[in-house]
């Protein structure tokens, strides 16, 4: 039956999207080989060149740097930060939510109230400022800050799922058959509670790309001149009226990537869920 599940999950549209994500990953690894130019090399005479002229396939930015090359190197930084932060927040949030939902009572107060609600009460920018002041700007700081910031979403999703899954009879069966608490939590409850988390993963990758651009714009993220998609959008916005391609090209890539991860999440959910969910 699993082959048909794959067949149902892999619609032509999704195959295109998965192809796009694979190309992104390849570009990320092979950027030095694939990039037509040095992403940092400036050529002020060629500033704001429109795409497909003078060998600039996607044009040049306000300092005459090749946008395509910057996008390729930017993909490395972008995806490393976005995936790293999302992974960190997922692990952290899932453990917090699972503990709170499974044990309830005091543990719930500690996890869901003291940790999660306090994080949510913090304005993201303030938290980022604090971390940057302490550890300095850079990808590592960004991953930690965003990992903490996105953890509550995962915690709440897992918490809600755990609350309903732990009342299922098969969980009771596991306890009755002598499963240890850790086994019950991680081997019985968690797999049945994780489907929405997987969907959320891809959405959070998208949100992380967005937040990275915001923080980079404020100078709290990736330090210039290192290319990142977020800072490219931020800088390009200044030339929107005269040379829209400086904004639209990286902006388009961000949009496509966010969309691709969303679609990828849906496909993953369909494959990972053994129950055939018909939606018609």
């Amino acid at each position: 039956m699993s082959s048909s599940r794959w067949a149902r999950a892999l619609t032509p549209f999704r195959i295109v999207v998965i192809g796009y994500v694979l190309i992104l990953v390849a570009v990320m690894i092979l950027a030095p080989v694939l990039a037509p130019a040095d992403p940092l090399a400036q050529n002020v005479t060629k500033r704001l060149t429109v795409p497909l002229t003078d060998g600039y396939i996607l044009g040049a930015d306000e300092l005459g740097r090749d946008i395509l090359s910057r996008l390729m190197y930017g993909a490395r930084v972008e995806l490393f930060i976005a995936l790293g932060a999302t992974l960190a927040s997922m692990v952290l949030g899932t453990i917090i939510g699972l503990l709170g939902g499974y044990f309830g009572g005091l543990v719930e107060t500690l996890t869901m109230r003291v940790i999660v609600d306090v994080i949510l009460a913090f304005p993201p920018i303030i938290l980022a400022l604090l971390a940057v002041t302490l550890y300095g700007p850079g990808p590592g700081t960004l991953i930690v800050v965003m990992g903490v910031l996105f953890a509550p979403t995962f915690a709440r999703i897992t918490y809600g799922q755990t609350l309903s899954v732990k009342r299922e009879e098969y969980v009771e069966a596991a306890i009755a058959f002598g499963a240890k608490t850790v086994t019950t939590m991680f081997r019985v409850v968690l797999p049945n509670a994780s489907a929405p988390t997987i969907v959320r993963f891809s959405l959070t990758v998208a949100a992380a790309i967005l937040l990275e651009s915001g923080l980079s714009y404020l100078g709290l993220g990736v330090v210039p001149p290192t290319p990142s998609w977020g800072s490219m959008v931020a800088q390009g916005s200044r030339y929107l009226s005269s040379s829209p391609h400086v904004l639209l090209v990286p902006g388009g890539v961000v949009v496509l990537t966010i969309l691709a991860f969303g679609v990828l999440g849906d496909a993953l959910r369909d494959v990972l869920d053994p129950k055939e969910k018909r939606r018609s």
Binding site: M1, Y170, E172, A179
Partner: protein
């Protein structure tokens, strides 16, 4: 024969799937005469509900109906939606299996009744309220003025079903469709509900189409019976004919599979209740120690902040000897499942002692549940929810072995899984399927395989067949008995069905509201009951015999 009120002709219902139209029923024809009760019986998947639902076009989207449904000369397949809405509720009313979900939980019973009354008749609110109270009185709800302002959750299951019936008969319909109206209700209440339906039927002169899988209910109230299987009508006839002289082999099989209280010897191929102590253990010292000993056990559900706990079991004594099957019977709320959960260590004892094979495990829950590893096992009521949907059946039945630290790996574990599957007669090639790919009976076999995997000394079986069709129930129970005899485990068999317990148990314990009412050997308790409550239970248990049911009905109405 008089002119039929409802006449279904060559009705075929198809569901649309990705592969095209999939037929669910094939050319079903049946007639209902005014004032008559027609029972539509069959197992799950037979198309009985689909047939009944298609009368009022209450089918899911993406279905199509072909044929004709003539109601007082009008073809319901051709009438416009507006006309159908008029017919629904006014001429043809419906009651459902689970009144808790069929009633709106946020409105009071009274408000919902008034709404129904006003939707079919121009009445002022005051007059509608008067009518609603009259209806509540007519369905024998105690204190109708008070219950009028109650919400569905404040009523008992039986009262909710009465309220549902009041709603259905508010417009004095010509036809009442009842879809498993008593399946979710205790037997003693079931009798009252069926009496009520019959009484209203004769008072209002309406026809009743009852859909049920319970042959006892059919024998009790039906005039005519239509037996369905795989979307086709297998047999149709008067209730006497179908029960006494069934023409079709399928009907005979179906009737033979129904456990009949007082005739246990004919059920389960003559297998005796298991007392199969093997020779190797008889010389053992341990055989004299009871496998389970509950003394003065009190069990409460823990309360939470600002909410008091609830005591479900008040001082129960219970002993199970080695190799014995003890039936624990009672209605919902009697505490029978609570006792089962406590024995498994899922609930703590509030008082008294619980000894498993001589070891006192009265205190603590979780750690002690694990101490019971290898000695106590369980078969759950609903195999669909007690199997982890993300584990294949081979994984599901060997998980308990891993949890209990039994060192079996790779091929050995796989072999054990195959061996267990073979014992419950499931093909080894199914080992890697997921529970949702199996039928209900197969899932419960997997549940049993999982329970015997650890070779337990004591098995707690909580209503293991109440979610299954009768023919499947018989084969699962038969398998259970066989395994019990070969493995020699003792069993606490929890059930509301006296006829099943009679076929399976050596001893019976009758429980009511957390107190033991009566206990003794199965024969003594069920044939010479001492307690009044036991007698009521036995009298209420439906038997698949129209003559007996009629005698009982007469005895009830005259006495």
């Amino acid at each position: 024969m008089s002119h039929p009120l409802l006449s279904i002709r060559e009705l075929s219902v198809d569901f649309e799937t990705a592969e095209g139209w999939k037929p669910v029923t094939h050319g079903v024809s049946l007639d209902i005469v005014a004032g008559q009760t027609l029972a539509l019986v069959g197992e799950s998947g037979s198309g009985k509900s689909v047939t009944a639902m298609s009368v009022l076009a209450l089918l899911p989207l993406h279905t199509r109906r072909r044929g004709s449904i003539l109601f007082t000369g009008e073809d319901l397949l051709c009438v416009p939606d507006k006309r159908l809405q008029q017919i629904r509720g006014r001429d043809i009313a419906m009651i459902f299996q689970e009144p808790m979900t069929a009633l709106n939980p946020v409105y009071t019973i009274g408000r919902q009744l008034i709404e129904v009354i006003q939707s079919h008749r121009q009445l002022s609110t005051a007059a509608a309220k008067e009518r609603a109270l009259e209806l509540l009185r007519s369905v024998n709800i105690p204190e109708p003025e008070k219950k009028f302002d109650h919400y569905p959750h404040q009523l008992s299951g039986g009262q909710r079903q009465r309220a549902m019936i009041a709603m259905a008969v508010s417009s004095e319909p010509k036809l009442l469709i009842a879809d498993e109206p008593t399946t979710a209700i205790d037997v003693t209440v079931q009798v009252e509900i069926l009496d009520l339906i019959l009484e209203l039927q004769s008072r209002l002169g309406m026809a009743v189409l009852i859909i049920t899988h319970n042959m006892g209910v059919v024998a009790d109230i039906a005039d005519r019976v239509v037996v369905m299987r795989n979307g086709r009508v297998v047999e149709e006839g008067g209730v006497e004919d179908v029960f006494v002289r069934p023409r079709e082999a399928y009907t005979r099989e179906l009737l033979a599979a129904v456990p009949y209280l007082g005739r246990a010897e004919k059920f389960l191929g003559g297998l005796e209740p298991g007392l199969a102590v093997t020779e190797s253990t008889t010389g053992d010292m341990t055989t004299t120690v009871p496998v389970l000993e509950l003394t003065g056990a009190r069990i409460s559900y823990p309360g939470s902040w600002r909410k008091a706990g609830f005591q479900a079991v008040h001082g129960v004594d219970l002993t199970i000897e080695r190799g014995e099957i003890v039936g624990l019977v009672g209605e919902s709320g009697s505490g029978k499942s609570t006792i089962g959960r406590a024995v498994l260590g899922l609930l703590p004892l509030a008082g008294g002692t619980l000894k498993v094979h001589g070891t006192d495990v009265s205190h603590g829950t979780r750690a002690l549940a694990r101490q019971r590893r290898g000695t106590v096992s369980m078969v759950f009521q609903d195999p669909a929810s007690s199997l982890n949907p993300r584990r294949t059946i081979a994984q599901a039945i060997t998980d308990p072995l891993r949890w209990q630290g039994i060192q079996l790996r790779g091929m050995a574990l796989r072999e054990r899984a195959m061996e267990l599957l073979e014992q419950v007669r499931i093909s080894g090639s199914w080992a890697d399927r997921y529970p949702h790919e199996l039928s209900g009976g197969q899932r419960q076999r997997v549940g049993i395989a999982r329970a015997i995997a650890i070779e337990p000394m004591l098995m707690v079986a909580d209503e293991p067949t109440s979610a299954l069709d009768v023919s499947v129930q018989a084969s699962v129970l038969e398998l259970f008995l066989e395994l019990q005899r070969s493995y020699g485990f003792s069993c606490l068999f929890i059930s509301h069905d006296l006829s099943v317990v009679e076929a399976l148990a050596n001893r019976v314990i009758v429980l009511q509201k957390g107190v033991v009412i009566e206990q003794g050997s199965t024969r003594d308790v069920l044939q010479r009951p001492q307690a009044e409550y036991t007698r009521q239970l036995i009298a209420a248990a439906p038997v698949p015999d129209p003559t007996v049911q009629q005698q009982r009905r007469q005895a009830r109405t005259t006495g």
